[in-house]
């Protein structure tokens, strides 16, 4: 059944069709639009499952992927370097897993949105955008070359802009979408330069060809292209220092946060690193940088998350932190661990976001201290949230435990003891901040009246909760032929089970939970007192280490002034020149128009005169005529 694989390009088609239909035809019929989008994503999901099964049964491994492509554009000849751009799909285990994760989460999020977005004036458009986003993301995952990937990468960015700014009448949403777009632009620009420089060096955009070429000649000359390419993931996966957009992106509707800013789009950066893994692994300095950026981001974001009190913001910083984990895993050299964590994280983070959405839906506030005791009225939401929180904290035997554990194991095994300590610390902080949230929101005194959300919202929660519990077993060390023998780089790498680490991280996580319990349930420690003691530190952390302010300052003081200078230059010098040219052009047009008198004799005269002039020109040798 190779047909199934060779037609994998069909996967993004249903959402694309749904998008077009919704925008052009069914926009007025809300329910129909939504059902159309859900139907389309279901088709894609089923096909993706088919692809995954096919990959498993065909024995397609990371080292012998299948690739189908047509030449999209080919140009060139003798004097110009031949340019060949393909449109094609690359299918290997990594692709197949990503396809399933993206379509599954998207499907659940779309079903959830049926309830969550009910009554919104932009209901249909919302589903249209979601479909468009899914299409772009699937295209990105399937692409077999950097060029195609870049196109879809940009489309994903565009969707994110549209969806964050979905409530565009809200000033903060409009601002957040702009911020996300501009921040991502920095990364995209580097990414673009990176793939162009790779093209200049190796003459191809194709992943496999590039991998082969890089395998043959690898050296320090690749550091700059590698760093440029890396700029893309740093922005898209919200790594320090380009992480600032992600927390603000929470201005978008919650399902969007779940789909884009937790499960899929931010994973694109991690996916990109994994795709071009050979480029980074050979360069020790670059890998080192990746690992430490990831580790630092993980810690940095976890610290910030501890003091936030907007429910979505906490989860957002947790996302940044978890993405840091993944990037760190890739940096220390384990593709398997990074992607494994990406997969489990997609499920439990989507779960957390959707559950948070359910809470917001019911409580009409995002401040956790304005909520409380929701566990009584919202049973399903509470329990699924707790499952997500446990999974995030890495409690045995939930999904997060296995994947986080593998990352920590790998870090230690590869000799990054420093990163291991950071990772463990993050595990502790993670457990603390997420259970701080749980205890404050779901237990304690009841502060708001809330009702359980409709079935369309709770069913996806339950499915995701199930996955958050079970998906980790795919990569658990005792499973033979598990995740790490499915997705790997060059050869499967099996980590030795280290019970010490397992127990250590579990203890840390439990410690975090216990601390949260002590502080927020038993009130043994008064958080207000603590913050008062370390007022200045608290303020710094609460304000996210003033990174935003620094950027703001950089942006307004330096960039704006540079911008102003350019603006002046543009307005007075460049515009002057171009206005002059344009004016001249217009004037020339207006003058030349007068040649057309409408008089037949004049026309005939012009034709004859031209012939005579050409004849004279050709006849006179001085003017380059006939010799």
């Amino acid at each position: 059944m190779l047909k199934m694989l060779s037609n994998a390009w069909l996967i993004p088609i249903p959402p694309a069709v749904a998008f077009v239909l919704i925008v052009l035809v069914t926009k007025r019929f809300k329910l129909l639009s939504a059902l159309l989008a859900i139907f389309a994503i279901t088709l894609s999901f089923i096909y993706s499952i088919g692809i995954l099964l096919e990959v498993l049964s065909q024995g397609i491994t990371m080292n012998n992927p299948v690739e189908y492509s047509v030449n999209w554009l080919s140009l060139g000849g003798e004097t110009i370097r031949p340019l060949l751009i393909e449109a094609g799909v690359l299918i290997d285990p990594l692709t197949s897993v990503m396809l399933v994760v993206v379509t599954l989460v998207a499907l659940l999020v779309e079903i959830y949105s049926l309830g969550y977005m009910k009554g919104d004036p932009g209901f249909s458009v919302f589903f249209g955008y979601l479909s468009f986003f899914v299409m772009s993301m699937l295209g990105l995952v399937l692409a077999n070359n950097y060029f195609m990937m870049f196109i879809f990468w940009e489309l994903v960015g565009l969707c994110s802009y549209l969806l964050i700014g979905f409530y565009f009448h809200k000033h903060s949403a409009a601002k957040a979408s702009k911020k996300a777009f501009i921040t991502n632009r920095w990364g995209d620009f580097g990414f673009m330069l990176g793939i162009f420089s790779l093209f200049l060096i190796f003459g191809t955009f194709n992943f496999n060809d590039l991998a082969e070429a890089i395998g043959r000649q690898h050296g320090a000359f690749l550091i700059i292209p590698a760093l440029l390419v890396l700029a893309g993931p740093i922005a898209k996966s919200a790594q320090f220092p380009l992480h600032v957009w992600l927390p603000d992106a929470m201005e978008g509707p919650t399902p969007v946060s779940a789909l884009i800013h937790a499960a899929t789009m931010v994973a694109a950066g991690v996916y990109l690193i994994a795709r071009g893994y050979i480029l980074f692994t050979g360069l020790e300095a670059v890998s080192f940088a990746i690992a430490y950026i990831g580790g630092f981001t993980a810690l940095f974001a976890a610290i910030i998350a501890v003091v936030q009190f907007d429910i979505k913001r906490i989860i957002a910083f947790s996302t940044v932190s978890q993405l840091g984990y993944m990037v760190m895993a890739l940096g220390v050299g384990s593709l398997s661990a990074g992607i494994f964590h990406l997969t489990t994280h997609a499920f439990f983070k989507a779960l957390l976001f959707l559950a948070a959405g359910s809470v917001i839906h019911a409580a009409h506030t995002q401040n956790i201290f304005e909520m409380g005791g929701l566990s009584k009225s919202m049973k399903i939401t509470t329990w699924s949230f707790i499952v997500g929180a446990l999974s995030l904290s890495g409690i045995f035997p939930l999904a997060g435990f296995w994947s986080k554990d593998e990352i920590l194991l790998v870090t230690l095994e590869k000799g990054f003891t420093g990163l291991y300590i950071i990772g463990s610390l993050v595990a502790f902080l993670t457990a603390f901040y997420v259970f701080r949230l749980v205890f404050v929101v779901f237990f304690g005194k009841k502060k708001t009246r809330a009702y359980e959300s409709p079935l369309s919202m709770t069913v996806p929660l339950m499915v995701l909760a199930f996955l958050s519990i079970t998906s980790g077993f795919a990569g658990a060390p005792f499973v033979e032929k598990g995740f790490s023998s499915f997705i790997y780089f060059q050869e499967p790498h099996h980590v030795q089970v280290n019970f010490l680490i397992m127990i250590g991280s579990t203890v840390l996580a439990l410690g975090g939970i216990a601390l949260a319990w002590a502080v927020y349930v038993k009130k043994l420690i008064d958080p207000v007192l603590v913050t008062d003691r370390a007022r200045s530190l608290y303020v710094v952390v609460y304000n996210k280490f003033y990174i935003d302010e620094i950027y703001h300052w950089l942006f307004y003081r330096i960039m704006m002034n540079i911008g102003k200078a350019f603006n002046w230059n543009d307005r007075h010098v460049v515009d002057g020149i171009f206005d002059g040219i344009a004016g001249l052009t217009r004037a020339a047009g207006a003058k030349l128009r007068l040649v057309h008198t409408g008089n037949l004799q004049n026309y005939a005269l012009v034709i004859f005169a031209s012939v005579v002039i050409i004849v004279i020109w050709m006849a006179v040798p001085v003017l380059g005529g006939i010799q």
Binding site: A619, V620, P621, I626, Q627
Partner: protein, 118 residues
């Protein structure tokens, strides 16, 4: 090779010269005895009355065109008829196709009323 253009120059010169010289010779040799009748515009026709920029009846041209078409037909028909016996049978069919096309044309002209002098 500018000098090669001399042939074109001579060509133009001789062409002009021929026209001018023939007029010139005629002007020299012809007797010049003008009288009012000879000086009139149409020596052997009628004086025009009124403006000469009048609209002609378009039927003149239509007649001329139709005439021309059948004139051309004859140009083709005569060589065909002369060599008729030596030609393969397809030539016979071809000529009928040709005549057929002209007949359609005639039919069209007739139906459109171009043959009626209104």
């Amino acid at each position: 090779m500018l000098e090669q253009f001399t042939s074109i120059g001579i060509f133009i010169f001789v062409g002009l010269g021929f026209a001018v010289s023939s007029l010139l010779v005629a002007w020299i040799v012809r007797p010049k005895r003008p009288n009012p009748l000879k000086m009139s515009t149409y020596e052997c026709g009628l004086e025009t009355r009124g403006r000469t920029w009048i609209q002609f009846k378009v039927s003149y041209f239509l007649y001329a065109l139709v005439f021309l078409v059948f004139d051309v037909e004859v140009v083709f028909l005569i060589p065909w008829a002369v060599e008729f016996l030596k030609l393969p049978w397809i030539a016979f069919i071809e000529m009928f196709i040709f005549i057929g096309i002209l007949v359609v044309g005639l039919w069209y002209v007739w139906k459109e009323g171009a043959l009626e002098w209104k």
